[in-house]
């Protein structure tokens, strides 16, 4: 198992390096100059040239790329042009906020989405099933930031119940989490519904029912665990989606996470910030995929057996 994890972690390295090259190249072609933003209106052309030289922006593409990659290998993501601070330490500082938002969102989606899916599966094709499926699809069709704005109007402005922005206790995360998860509820509920439907008809569930076990126990103890694997896949991919979604949600709620850092970075052409943020997110993303795979193994002994076998073989 540990060797499997190690192997997966090693596989991440070339991907992350290519991501770094890709993003560096994209940023290289982004029109606009960070120095002109920093220096403002009063700078003379000579002063601009001097500042460009200072940041190494006058060097050719390949040299800049090489320097950047060398830095990354040493876990140095460079220094923000605008804030003067190390990108790596800033990312480290901001990451917990983004992670909290994304994790709470996926938690919320699971806690709400799976029961909806189960209910729909139990009452498949009845009216309640159709209504729930329609409602989740409605959520899936809503722009998250729009819902966010409406939630702020209702809960912060009109009712004064929840804070409208910033970070702090758990209450600060309620509105952002709801806005960030609404789009994923449909996917999870739908996946749960369809895999539950398959399982409910399987022999062992029928047997469990025949034994006279209470329906609740049948569903939660016998059916659900066996329906989980495809649901976990969806959760994994939605978690990645939510990490991305935080970019917009963070900007609505002024949450100083990685997403806002990146958007500010793009707007001010603060290349090290943008590159660092994306590589960081890619790393987390890959990590989550790994965890998803490990959860599979945990849930499904057959897959676990495979890992063990492959390790033995190797």
């Amino acid at each position: 198992m540990i060797r499997y994890i190690g192997k997966r972690l090693l596989q991440m390295i070339p991907i992350l390096l290519t991501v770094a090259i890709l993003i560096f190249t994209l940023m290289y072609f982004v029109p606009g100059d960070p120095v002109e933003i920093m220096l403002g209106d009063t700078a003379t052309p000579e002063q601009i040239a001097a500042a460009r030289a200072k940041f190494g922006l006058d060097k050719p593409y390949l040299i800049r790329l090489w320097n950047y990659l060398v830095g990354i290998v040493h876990l140095d993501f460079g220094t923000s042009y605008l804030q003067g601070s190390s990108v790596a330490s800033e990312l480290f500082l901001r990451f917990p906020r983004t992670l909290t938002l994304a994790s709470l969102s996926i938690l919320f989606t699971i806690v709400v989405g799976i029961p909806i899916g189960i209910q729909c599966a139990i009452h498949a094709n009845k009216l309640s099933d159709k209504i729930w499926m329609f409602l989740t699809m409605l959520g899936n069709s809503m722009p998250g930031f729009w819902l966010a704005l409406l939630l702020v109007i209702l809960f912060s402005v009109k009712l004064g119940l929840l804070p409208s922005n910033g970070t702090g206790g758990l209450e600060y995360y309620i509105l952002p989490v709801v806005a960030n998860s609404i789009g994923s509820l449909a996917d999870i509920a739908r996946q749960t519904r369809s895999s539950m439907l398959e399982v409910i008809r399987s022999d062992y569930v029928v047997t469990a029912r025949a034994k006279g076990l209470p329906e609740k126990e049948v569903i939660w103890k016998h059916a659900l665990p066996n329906a989980l694997i495809p649901i976990i896949t969806v959760c994994g991919s939605r978690f990645g989606f939510m990490l991305g979604g935080t970019v917009i949600i963070e900007s609505v709620f002024s949450i100083p996470g990685i997403g806002m850092y990146m958007v500010n970075g793009i707007n001010s052409r603060d290349y090290p910030v943008v590159q660092g943020s994306i590589i960081y997110i890619a790393f987390i993303f890959a990590f989550i995929m790994l965890i998803t795979d490990l959860i599979y193994a945990y849930v499904d002994p057959r897959i676990k057996a495979q890992y063990v076998k492959s390790v033995k073989k190797a």
Partner: protein, 297 residues
């Protein structure tokens, strides 16, 4: 219910009716009221966006300072915005942007994705590895971030949003195409085609792609919905279509500052985005159900 079961059973047994399954999908769609409503909504909206300049009482870009922030009323059914432009006229005129961004960006990702996926899946080997590793990189971080990064390179604007969202959608299509091709590649009729010396290109275009088409249709239908959503998100962040173009996401973004006093300016474009995306979702969903009868049990 029985009827559906038999038809699905028929479908399962007759796996090779896929190319001809378009009429089949259409037949199933017609039976799904949600999908039909969605289809009608989108079609009507699309047509209206072209005739709206001729039938609307107000020009979509006419500024009337005295009717700034008018709430919805008989004069202005959906009210007016911060410079007194009629929101209904703008919504209808702007429909073509949202709809065409959704459709065109999926066309971009579909064409490029299908080509990449088909090539990878058909040839296999090193080409496959190369393409798939490349796509891995594209998929190594969330789609929307890639779209943002690309639109930072391309700049803001209608056509650029299409490319940004289109390109970021390529991996999904490529993977799906490759998976399908892998399943058809080893089937008998391809072997037959190869044995009679059909050119590779011919095999791909005439045999492989048509046989992988139905999952593609599902992906396209669902893709349009999410592309339209992404586009509105990009516009909202300022990377997409720019005001004063009446694209709905851009309208929403510029109305954001007035939302507390004139919520109609925010609610209405959002509602239209939602209804459009919902329509595409309903249609896509119906198609998926039609092609995957398991879900209907």
């Amino acid at each position: 219910m029985e009827k559906i079961k038999t038809s699905s059973a028929a479908k399962r047994s007759g796996e090779n009716d896929k190319p001809g399954s378009l009429p089949y999908i259409w037949r199933r769609l017609k039976k799904n009221p949600g999908a039909m409503l969605g289809l009608i909504f989108v079609t009507v909206l699309f047509l209206l966006s072209f005739v709206s300049p001729f039938i609307c009482r107000y020009d979509y870009q006419e500024i009337v300072m005295k009717s700034r922030f008018t709430l919805p009323c008989m004069e202005h059914l959906l009210g007016c915005d911060e410079v007194g432009r009629d929101i209904l006229s703008r919504i209808l005129y702007g429909a073509k942007y949202t709809l065409s961004i959704g459709v065109l960006s999926v066309v971009v990702s579909c064409i490029l994705g299908v080509i990449l996926g088909a090539v990878a899946g058909y040839f296999g080997g090193k080409i496959d590895t190369l393409i798939m590793r490349f796509l891995d990189v594209f998929q190594a971080f969330p789609n929307i971030l890639l779209a943002i990064a690309i639109s930072a390179v391309l700049g803001a604007g209608f056509d650029k949003v299409i490319y940004a969202i289109g390109i970021s959608g390529i991996p999904g299509f490529a993977r799906m195409m490759r998976a399908n091709i892998l399943t058809v590649r080893n089937s008998e009729f391809i072997e037959a085609a190869t044995s009679i010396n059909c050119s590779t290109f011919r095999i791909i275009v005439h045999h492989v792609i048509p046989n992988a088409i139905s999952p593609l249709i599902v992906q396209v239908a669902m893709g349009i919905a999410s592309a339209a959503l992404s586009a509105s998100g990009l516009s909202f962040l300022g990377f997409g279509v720019q005001a004063p173009t009446p694209e709905w996401g851009a309208m929403l973004a510029s109305a954001r500052g007035y939302m507390r006093d004139y919520p109609h300016m925010v609610i209405i474009p959002g509602l239209f985005i939602m209804m459009t995306v919902l329509s595409f979702n309903l249609v896509g969903d119906a198609i998926r159900d039609a092609l995957d009868p398991k879900l209907r049990d």
